[in-house]
């Protein structure tokens, strides 16, 4: 039997606020353990939380960018559980009145647009970090991350393959970056996700029993865990077995997931309205004020690149898939560089350097003005395309103006006609047979002679100029 895969995701994004959600401690990754804490975020008895307004602003902004309706009467709730990374023994979250509901995000998979429903987006606080000490059989708790603001984005079970889920995650990440509510640094854990996956026989309407996967630390791990779970459930069902609803822990090193808890011992969170915090009333004016701060989103920007600059769809997609990259592109173009040339450099050699050096997309070590200067040098004929590649490599190595690099490495093209003519004559004198071949209609001879002249000039001859000169000289010979 063939099975259809059904996936829903829960994505947690840390918000880029200055301070934590309920106290004025700095919201900053890292820091010595327990140096970003106070009695509120470390859960001392008798303290009271006060909600950071920007957290509400950011959640609404993300919600609007994902086409949600904003809950105008919203509240926070207590989710109770014991775990040493949560000093209060409860997490303040939202239960039945999340700030944003019923939205959607359009994703493009294999050239086709698909709409994925967003069930809800709510605000909550992050927990601390535990460092396990195997030797002493204890853990050391660091509460710096306690109270860092999060939004949890819950998708509808609209995704039908790990690939679709991957594109959805990338699309969410781009929207969060563009709206500047999260910096989405995967390696710092500021974007994390839980996966719900089930299978159902093809054509069946009802969903099958789902399993939830936790401890997924990268998009790659998310995709691997989904592929693993797809395979596991297919095997169980094909052998006549049944899927038990359970929570599984993904082990990325072993590439497998193991049962963490079954339905029988599912957590009983006993949510109740948070008595220490007041409800929120979100006015129409407030919503409109936030709506006006939403920048051009990736989809719109992509369309603009296609219509305004005539870029191919694929190029426009790649350039806009990271805000930093798109901003860099726009800035270089606004300085007067040709959009096509900028796009070619950014998607070609620059992208390659970024990959090789494992930098984040758009982390280009030189300014847009310097990229423009490099493109100008090619267009003016000062350097050849291949010399420009060498200059670019230098620009990645250390900050230096492209003109200075050209000078330092002696990469200027020779366009001086007298000097070039001497080289042409020299090469022709050394290769009489090639002249005969050329006259006999062998085009290869022209390429050979061009190559010889480039060699004599140490690659610095302007190819357009010598091509012309060589043809003229051959006609006369």
């Amino acid at each position: 039997m063939n099975y259809e895969t059904v996936i829903g995701l829960e994505v947690h994004a840390e918000l880029k606020t200055n301070t934590k959600i309920y106290c004025g401690c700095i919201n900053e990754f890292g820091g010595e353990p327990n140096t970003h804490t106070c009695p509120i975020c470390s859960g001392m008895p008798g303290t009271l939380p006060v909600l950071n307004k920007r957290v509400v602003d950011f959640a609404i902004k993300a919600g609007l960018a994902m086409n949600c309706s904003i809950t105008q009467y919203s509240k926070q709730d207590r989710k109770n559980y014991f775990y040493p990374d949560l000093p209060k023994a409860y997490q303040i979250s939202q239960f039945d009145l999340p700030l944003c509901q019923n939205g959607y995000v359009d994703i493009v998979v294999n050239g086709e647009t698909k709409r994925i429903g967003i069930t809800r987006i709510h605000i909550e606080e992050d927990a601390g970090k535990l460092v396990h000490d195997d030797y002493a059989n204890c853990s050391i708790a660091d509460y710096n991350r306690c109270g860092v603001p999060l939004i949890e984005i819950v998708s509808e079970p609209d995704l039908r393959s790990p690939e679709e889920a991957h594109v959805f995650l990338e699309t969410l990440k781009t929207i969060l970056e563009y709206t500047e509510v999260s910096d989405c640094k995967m390696q710092e854990g500021s974007l994390r996700c839980d996966v719900n996956l089930s299978l159902r026989p093809e054509g069946q309407k009802e969903f099958g029993t789902r399993c939830e996967m936790k401890n997924i630390n990268s998009f790659r791990a998310a995709v691997r865990s989904m592929e693993y779970e797809q395979k596991r459930q297919t095997e169980v069902l094909s052998n006549g077995g049944i899927i038990n609803q359970e929570t599984r822990r993904w082990d990325d090193v072993k590439g497998e997931s193991i049962v963490m808890r079954t339905k029988e011992d599912a957590q009983d969170y006993r949510y109740f309205p948070e008595p220490d915090l007041l409800p929120m009333i979100i006015s129409d004016e407030w919503i409109e004020e936030i709506r006006s701060t939403i920048p051009e989103l990736p989809e719109q920007r992509k369309s603009r690149y296609i219509s305004e600059f005539g870029l191919p769809e694929y190029d426009a997609f790649l350039l806009t898939s990271s805000k930093k990259t798109a901003d860099y592109f726009d800035e270089t173009v606004s300085l007067g560089a040709s959009p096509k040339a900028v796009s070619n450099w950014m998607m070609g050699d620059i992208a390659k350097f970024i990959n090789d050096k494992e930098l984040e997309a758009g982390d280009i070590p030189f300014a847009p003005a310097q990229l423009k200067a490099l493109i100008d040098l090619i267009e003016k004929g000062t350097i050849s395309n291949s010399a420009a590649k060498k200059v670019l490599a230098e620009m990645f190595a250390q900050p230096e103006e492209p003109e200075k690099i050209v000078e330092r490495l002696g990469l200027s093209q020779v366009s001086d006609e007298g000097a070039l003519m001497a080289m042409v004559q020299e090469v022709l004198a050394q290769n009489p047979q090639s002249i005969v071949d050329y006259k006999a209609g062998k085009d290869r001879a022209l390429g050979f002679l061009m190559g010889q002249i480039m060699r004599v000039s140490k690659g610095k001859a302007n190819p357009q100029v010598i091509n012309q000169m060589l043809k003229e000289a051959l006609d006369k010979a």
Binding site: P33, A141, L278
Partner: protein
């Protein structure tokens, strides 16, 4: 309202409390009367009444997103029963 001993033990487990059978049975009786008392509210007609999110009729108490200094780590840790490397040592729980 009937509360079984098992329900008492479930709630006790969630609260990390331990009771003997005799204690649990006595608590079942107490909880019956407490919940029975709260259940009296169900006798009211609440048709058309919005659920109460908070007992105080106020809303939108916010703080501006301005950093205030965190506490000194030594001060934070001074009541910790056990500490190590600038952190609170806790029993190892791996879920």
């Amino acid at each position: 309202m009937n509360i079984s001993k098992e329900e008492v033990l479930h709630v006790a487990k969630l609260a990390r409390l331990k009771f003997t059978d005799a204690e649990a049975e006595a608590l079942a009786k107490d909880m019956e009367s407490i919940i029975g008392f709260a259940n009296k509210l169900n006798e009211l007609d609440t048709e058309g009444v919005v659920p109460t999110a908070h007992a105080i009729p106020m809303h939108n108490a916010f703080r501006e997103d301005v950093v205030t200094p965190s506490y000194d780590r030594e001060a934070m840790l001074q009541n910790a029963p056990s500490k190590e490397d600038g952190g609170y040592t806790v029993p190892k729980v791996v879920e």
